[in-house]
């Protein structure tokens, strides 16, 4: 399906005014609602706004209770617009798309999106087990010991089989992330690792080693999107949302192709709306639940040909500064942070930092004018929600 620009575009009509990433990685003494409130306060303060300014609230499966219904009350919000879209770790990019559309339509002035979770210190995981056990596919997938890493390993194994991708090439993704994480004082893992160290770390599920897997951290993050009128009233430099795309890729009635992701559809939609191509992008935040997630996503977004991901990520291509496509300069989910087992939020946060020129000086991309953030939720092995945002330079 060819991507086409919708007749009414959101291009540039909504701007990201506030972002916040919780600095904590282990939060045993905070409740889940408290962490949502902490990150909401952080992003609103970043924007120069308050809870009273918020007229739209967005949450996903990590929000406790009734989702937005519960959290709007807990936070003390007065909202005329809510959205509980749940696509796993990509949900926050989908929310940004929906918020941008609502802002462009004039329904919303200030949208707040929050994420919080405590997978490290014992909080309940997102989503109810009853919800998942009643899924129509449940008994045909859940009886076979498919861990998260096992599922992604199935995708990696097939990619290797079809395209000759190697463990050393996958390791390059982790190496690049670790070179960035050494500069992030909040990163869960701050040590630079080598390809050798990645491929000699314990095998979890062939071909994925422990160091091919993201970290497990408590924490969260939040975004504030505003209209052009609100943005004009703020001191904060705001980051325009130029293009958005969402897709769901699934097993296609039992004919799953494990070698591609939903980015094959969400990417072209976002590029078309923004009116740019992959070659125009200065920085990318790519959801990195595992090294294979990054490699396949880069192919599917068009940064290299299908099957060439392994060669593309080699030789420091993803490192900042100096690489041809600097990625995840905060250290990403592989090293820095993967709050609530959902990495989409922090992808947007670091992209905004780059566009503001507020990334760590050691990894700031010079003259960063166009950034892409991509989220993947669900599993490469079954069904995933994919979402892509193209963001412009803060003005």
């Amino acid at each position: 399906m060819a991507a086409s620009v919708p007749p009414v575009t959101i291009r540039g009509k909504a701007l990201i005014a506030g972002v916040y990433e919780h600095p904590g990685r282990e939060l045993p003494d905070r409740t889940l609602p408290q962490i949502h409130a902490d990150v909401a306060a952080g992003a609103l303060a970043d924007a120069g706004l308050t809870l009273a300014d918020v007229d739209a609230y967005y949450s996903a499966g990590d929000a406790p209770g009734f989702g937005a219904l519960s959290m709007v009350e807990y936070l003390g919000l007065d909202c005329s617009y809510i959205d509980d879209t749940e696509t796993g770790g990509s949900a926050y990019l989908v929310h940004a798309q929906h918020a941008a559309a609502a802002i462009a339509a004039g329904h919303v002035n200030v949208a707040l999106i929050t994420l919080a979770g405590k997978p490290r210190t014992g909080g309940a995981g997102p989503g109810g087990s009853a919800r998942f056990s009643s899924a129509p596919e449940a008994s045909f997938e859940n009886q076979f010991g498919m861990s998260v890493s096992g599922g992604y390993a199935l995708a990696a194994a097939r990619h290797m089989h079809e395209f000759g991708t190697t463990s050393e090439q996958l390791a390059e993704v982790k190496v690049a992330a670790s070179t960035h994480a050494q500069h992030n004082p909040h990163a869960f893992l701050q040590d630079v690792v080598t390809v050798d160290e990645v491929v000699s770390s314990p095998m979890i599920s062939d071909p994925l080693h422990r160091l091919d897997c993201c970290v497990i951290t408590d924490g969260g993050g939040a975004l504030v999107l505003v209209s052009e009128a609100v943005a004009a009233s703020l001191d904060r430099h705001c980051t325009p949302v130029l293009g958005t795309g969402t897709s769901i890729k699934h097993t296609s009635g039992g004919r799953i192709d494990l070698t591609h992701t939903g980015a094959t559809r969400s990417g072209p939609l976002a590029f078309a709306e923004a009116g740019v191509t992959p070659a125009d992008i200065d920085y990318v935040s790519i959801y990195d639940s595992f090294t294979i997630t990054v490699l396949m996503t880069l192919e599917d977004l068009g940064f290299c040909a299908k099957g060439d991901g392994g060669r593309f990520v080699s030789d420091g291509a993803l490192q900042s500064p100096g690489g041809v496509l600097p990625f995840n300069t905060d250290g990403g989910g592989l090293c820095n942070n993967h709050p609530a087992n959902r990495g989409g939020m922090t992808k947007v946060v670091e992209a905004v930092r780059q566009l503001r020129g507020e990334a760590h000086a050691a990894v700031q991309v010079p003259d960063c004018e166009l950034a892409l953030a991509h989220g993947t939720g669900g599993s490469l092995a079954t069904r995933m929600g994919s979402a892509t945002l193209v963001l412009g330079r803060s003005t």
């Binding site: 076979f144 010991g145 390993a153 199935l154 095998m203 979890i204 599920s205 009635g253 092995a381």
Partner: protein, 139 residues
């Protein structure tokens, strides 16, 4: 920890519903039955009473061959929870000769020898409730 089936792997009972009862009843009798769309001929997976290709809600069940090929596989060596003791074990997608790619385990062989493209044959691993899980062994 669930009980172990003859395969040596856990056999967590499935949760049949009105659309899948026929599938599970057949497995209890050692048969693999699949729904085929009456309108376009598509063999539907996971089993359901509708065709995801053409939208038809008319399907006819037929007995499948039980033969297939490994589409992808991984030896899971570390896994939390109730499967921990079963590791290392092979998680796989098997492409049935009838078309669908199904999540399963490859059993009855050295996990290190399983590979993509390998021909496999279904084995029925009974759960305590009666229905059996589809697992596969080298053909």
């Amino acid at each position: 920890m669930s009980d172990l089936g003859p395969s040596g792997l856990p056999v967590p009972p499935p949760n049949p519903n009105l659309e899948t009862q026929r599938f599970w009843d057949a497995t209890a009798e050692g048969r693999l039955e699949l729904p085929r769309c009456d309108s376009c001929g598509h063999v539907v997976w996971y089993p359901r009473e509708r065709c995801d290709q053409c939208g038809s809600t008319s399907v006819t069940w037929f007995e499948a061959s039980g033969r297939g090929t490994v589409y992808s596989c991984t030896v899971t060596r570390r896994i939390p929870g109730s499967w921990r003791a079963a590791a290392p074990f092979v998680l796989a997608y098997v492409e049935l000769d009838e078309g669908p790619r199904v999540v399963t385990n490859i059993v009855g062989c050295d996990p290190e020898t399983v590979h993509i493209g390998q021909a496999v044959q279904v084995v029925f691993d009974p759960t305590p409730d009666g229905p059996a899980l589809l697992r596969f062994t080298p053909a």
